[in-house]
């Protein structure tokens, strides 16, 4: 464990073109399940059902690698992040960190690992204690873990402030004296204090203004490159995830429907849901006479995770759904023609392209009705 604290170059993140998996992943998650029980009754609380937030998730994160986790709200991406940091205990499945099974580790067993897995939260206003100074906030994890850096904690905090681009003079200020972007930097400094090897970043930029988002993304990217920190980057913004993560997993209703290197996921997606997600991203480019990307409009919202559809969970919103999708859960496998490590869970995968189709897929009844009406009048 001697190399764990050094900040020298670890085998860097693999670039876009994939390549083989690193030999020993830093984190391995297998069959991860988290059910939140629903109870009713005032005195005798009966167990009446479960919110199946995460329902069988497998992935690995290599040393210094960033895995992006995308999906809609309620798909279980944040819960996955909290399970990995063991803020929640999994119902089933295993989490192996650096060769050790931590899925049901006790508080005591977790203590040394907690400092290596840190978290950055979404809301920079809620995640900093307004009564503590910046210095206290950042040094607190060191106090709790009994870390005494050479030169004292204060010196280390000042270094950290400098690393994240804040003025070390601000050591004694309170969080309300900072803007949203600066607060997020304080959160990053706090996460860095214990020299983590894995950071779970849960929507780290979605609460920030557009012009500030880029500052924080660049900061995180520098940390990843220079300190070799691995990231689980949870976000719903597909363009930012693509920018930040070498590999991307797409989640839907508690399961991973597609996972692969970013070139495959964004350029050659196979799962219909990945196609739908990508085609829904509003891009800051002006359409030129409709050519370009495909247009898919799903109907309605994500179903409830309390009573998810049988078989493939996406089938209720999918244009290719058939009987088999209801009876048989598609396994997450490598499809014919997919690159190594690009896995898809679908019985009837799509063509590996995001180019425009002959005809748009419009499943939304209101859209379809209005568009049909305007088509006939023209």
């Amino acid at each position: 464990m001697s190399e764990q604290l050094s900040l020298t170059k670890v085998p860097g993140p693999r670039d876009d073109d994939g390549g083989p998996e690193p030999s020993a992943p830093l984190l391995e998650v297998a069959g991860l399940v988290k059910y939140f029980p629903i109870t009713s009754g005032l005195v005798l609380r009966r167990h009446v059902g479960d919110v199946r937030a995460v329902d069988g998730v497998d992935f690995t994160i290599g040393q210094g690698e960033s895995l992006g986790l995308v999906g809609e709200s309620g798909c279980g991406k944040s819960t996955t992040g909290r399970l990995i940091t063991r803020l929640l205990e999994p119902t089933r499945g295993t989490i192996t960190y650096d060769g050790r099974d931590i899925s049901h580790a006790s508080r005591k067993e977790l203590a040394p690992i907690r400092s290596e897995i840190q978290m950055i939260f979404q809301d920079p206003f809620a995640s900093l204690n307004p009564r503590q100074t910046v210095g206290d906030i950042i040094s607190n994890p060191m106090v709790v873990n009994g870390v005494n850096p050479p030169g004292g904690r204060e010196k280390r905090v000042r270094e950290l402030l400098e690393i994240v681009g804040l003025n070390p003079e601000h050591y004694n200020r309170f969080p309300h004296e900072f803007s949203g972007g600066q607060r997020q930097r304080i959160g990053v400094a706090r996460a860095l204090g214990l020299k983590p090897r894995l950071i779970v970043a849960d929507e780290p930029v979605s609460a920030l203004d557009v012009s500030i988002q880029a500052q924080v993304v660049n900061l995180l990217q520098n940390l990843q490159r220079e300190m070799g920190i691995a990231f689980l980057f949870v976000a719903h913004d597909l363009a930012i995830v693509r920018h930040f993560s070498q590999r991307v997993a797409v989640m839907y209703l508690g399961r991973i429907v597609e996972i692969g290197d970013r070139a495959s996921i964004y350029g050659r997606p196979r799962h219909p849901y990945t196609h739908a997600l990508l085609s829904a991203v509003p891009e800051a480019v002006v359409d030129d006479e409709g050519e370009g990307r495909e247009r898919i409009r799903l109907a309605g919202d994500v179903p409830s995770p309390i009573d998810p559809p049988s078989g493939c969970r996406f089938r209720t919103r999918c244009w290719k759904a058939a009987e088999r999708c209801a009876s048989e859960t598609p396994p997450l496998v490598r499809l014919e023609g997919n690159r190594e490590g690009h896995l898809t869970a679908c019985h009837f995968p799509e063509e590996p392209t995001v180019a425009a189709r002959g005809e748009d897929v419009v499943l939304d009844p209101a859209l379809a009705a209005i568009e049909e009406a305007t088509d006939t009048t023209h």
Binding site: D15, D16, E72, S73, S179, G181, Q182, D209, V210, S211, I212, Q213, A214, Q215, V217, N218, Q221, H236, L238, A239, I240, R242, H243, R262, Y266, A276, L277, L278, S279, A280, V281, P282, E283, A284, V285, V286, D287, R297, L298, A299, G300, D301, V302, D364, P365, A366, L367, I370, E371, A373, T374
Partner: protein, 355 residues
Amino acid sequence: MSTLSQPATKPAADASRGFLSVRDLYVHFATEDGTVKAVDGLSFDLARGSTLGIVGESGSGKSVTNLAVLGLHNPRNTTIRGEILLDGQELTGASERRLSQLRGKKMAMIFQDSLAALSPYYTVGRQIAEPYMKHMGASRKEARERAVQMLGKVGIPQPKLRVDDYPHQFSGGMRQRAMIAMALVCDPELIIADEPTTALDVTVQAQILDLLKDLQHETGSAIIIITHDLGVVAKTADDVMVMYAGRCVERGTVREIMRTPRHPYSWGLLGSIPRLDSPVDLPLVPIPGTPPSLLAPPPGCPFHPRCAFPDQVAGGACRTERPVIPEDEPHGAACHLTPQQKSTIFAEQIRPRLR
């Protein structure tokens, strides 16, 4: 670049130009710390059947402007000066009674947070029916039928059953649809949508944006869409106004703003967001610094502390003199750089980063 600024390129919509016309609008709030100049000299026009996208960061005055159009500011601590003409009617000095006749009928609003904007106490159907009864003099029964019809139109399944549901029984996307139904129930001529899709998932966002666009085709209403998401603007708007510190810093058609932006702030906005096809090995180019305080905005151009080019302007005008958008240019930017400088900087430094 001068060919781009010919006013003759405007489409034939000129006849209905200025359905909504805002001139020199100032909205100031008196607070304990001083006067907040939330909107500070803003002018724009909106034609019938077209969509204006207002882009800017939080605190740039986007929402304040539109609340002023609707007359929803508290008169006790708000000073509104300037001219807001809706279809020839002056709204700035209008009485509360006059405004409430217009709100919901001639102009309607779609809010960001549908859970907060809908009352939890009344059924969705009743909330949609209310403005219809008020403005159209419809009976309870007629209004209920209209509510069912509107729910069906915005794509709520089984509208006859869902009309009696309460907002909490709807999902986020359905609530946003219900809000659209409520805004459209009296066929308003002006719809103001304030971040209508920010709280929604991408797949639902795409549905809602397409729905708004399709409904506009059908009804011909004018739409103002307020957002911080340039992607949303690119997909929905005809014209774009970029706001910064309570002022319009650039205006033009969506194509002009996305393809050949002229203001350093617009360059910054476009450069700081990654795209689905941009190269991944290059770092993003953020706008340095933070948005200015509206209590004491910087002198001169409010963007100059964050701008990379004030030194290229002769005499340091950026620090002393507030730039204005030339009146006669449909695509104009409030910037002291000469058109020559702007096109060279854009071509040499900015455009290569955008693709």
